[in-house]
Symmetry: C2
Subunit: 250 residues, 2 copies
DNA sequence: TCCGCCGTTTCGCTCTGGCGAACAGCCCAC
DNA sequence: GTGGGCTGTTCGCCAGAGCGAAACGGCGGA
């Protein structure tokens, strides 16, 4: 590992990040002050990014361009898991009526790689590509449970255990206890740990690749945690998980 | 328009493009020869891109990272059209059983921003984020029909009218005639113009934003072009289009 | 064991990315 | 109208960074 890096590329990416941080839309001066970089610098970067479609301008405002979506599509597709898993996740959404998710780990955080809405699903902004901490969601904890203790410690070191709600697990020991339970049980729960009022039941996927992944169903506590419904969801997750794992090894 | 540009950023993006061109996965030397750039240069760029999650390495192979998917999500979301249109497109897929698409124009090409599969849908690789020429697909022609003639000429100048199949329209005058028909009719057809055996019926969306868009249903010629089914699809597209346009202006 | 391929590192030279300041266009207040 | 303050845009300079060529090291196949 060396510190050979291309500084200009980093600034360009910071420009993209800046646009996101400024609610997806920004002007040149706005970005310059937000990132503490000279206006003229931002100008040049936006110019090149626009030329490549990574950014698009509406008048004098810049937004993230659809070109990024193209690259995103490749990122999805070239993980074999996606192809076999996404129809199952969609079916999960149809059968449960709730929100179904597929998450991959990357750089110690969780990325929603596919999300499907059932007919009763709440309109929470869980959208494709979103990144989330692993410790504060059920689906994230399911992924963490598939990692060796060392790796989990590494992740905690880099990202910490920030609190999302009053129920978020922020204590390291408590987290390790929880992960042990998940490993035994094969299922992870999330009781309002990432969003108040929302619960989530998740199942890790054991994959032949280096990519760690999990699937989950999310919904309002009242619906998802109802004893009968909970059993039904566990069954659905298990079936889907088995199908995916079977197709992957097959 | 000036030629102020950040060369290093362009190389970084070319690296991403290179990975895609090499079927989504590449090594350093491979990329260096493919892009005619020094190995050490590629090395540095990949290092930087990896640190930012734009690229991910499995052993000594590099792939597009999921970080791009995150940016892609923002690109989708910050077009108001997406939020109101994507549930309708999903419903189109469910009702027709075929493939339903939502396309936006960007930089003179068409981007599939949302795609949904019905239960009989063929597994063609029309995936989210894919870019296509506008002249050689039904949904693309629907978008072209919403542009003034000048803009269409510009697009032809930059991208040409490359042939995809023997049925692709490659003559400029013929294309303009076709676009006139589409404007009158409100519906665009694609008879094996982009893929042999496949047909597509599309409807332009008139939006209050600068983004030009269209929706379509795609399937095998035998199914989609059946007279009865064709009428059904036209009705479905019209209903969905009206709902979307109503929600956008409302 | 050697050869060849690949990723990694080193090392200069050149060029360019980044800055600050000046310029230009727009809109609003007055 | 007209001036001030906000944009985006351009100019020119200089340290430093991007890039290439070549050398290094590690792995695997012949």
């Amino acid at each position: 590992m060396s510190d050979d890096r291309v500084h200009a590329t980093e600034t360009s990416i910071r420009v993209l990040e800046g646009i996101v941080e400024l609610d997806g839309e920004a002007g040149i001066t706005e970005l310059a002050t937000h990132l503490s970089v000279a206006k003229s610098t931002i100008f040049k970067h936006l110019n090149t990014l626009e030329r490549k479609g990574m950014v698009v301008r509406h008048g004098d405002r810049y937004r993230i361009g659809l070109r990024t979506l193209e690259f995103g599509g490749y990122a999805q597709r070239y993980e074999g898991i996606y192809d076999t898993a996404h129809p199952e996740v969609r079916q999960l959404a149809d059968e449960s009526g709730e929100l179904a998710n597929l998450m991959f780990e990357e750089l110690g955080k969780g990325v929603y790689v596919y999300t499907a809405e059932g007919d009763k699903a709440v309109d929470i902004n869980t959208q494709t590509g979103r990144r989330d901490f692993l410790h504060s969601t059920g689906i994230g904890k399911a992924i963490l449970a598939t990692f060796p203790k060392e790796r989990v410690k590494e992740i905690i070191e880099t990202h910490g255990l920030p609190r999302a709600t009053e129920h978020t697990i922020t204590d390291e020991d408590e987290l390790f206890d929880e992960l042990a339970t998940i490993r035994e049980d094969g299922i992870a729960y999330d009781h309002e740990e990432s969003t108040l009022g929302m619960a989530c039941i998740a199942r890790p996927l054991s994959t032949p690749t280096e990519r760690h992944a999990a699937i989950s169903i999310t919904g309002p506590v009242s619906r998802v945690m109802d004893e009968e419904k909970e059993q039904e969801i566990r069954t659905l997750l298990d079936r889907a998980g088995n199908v995916i794992e079977l197709n992957l090894t097959g």
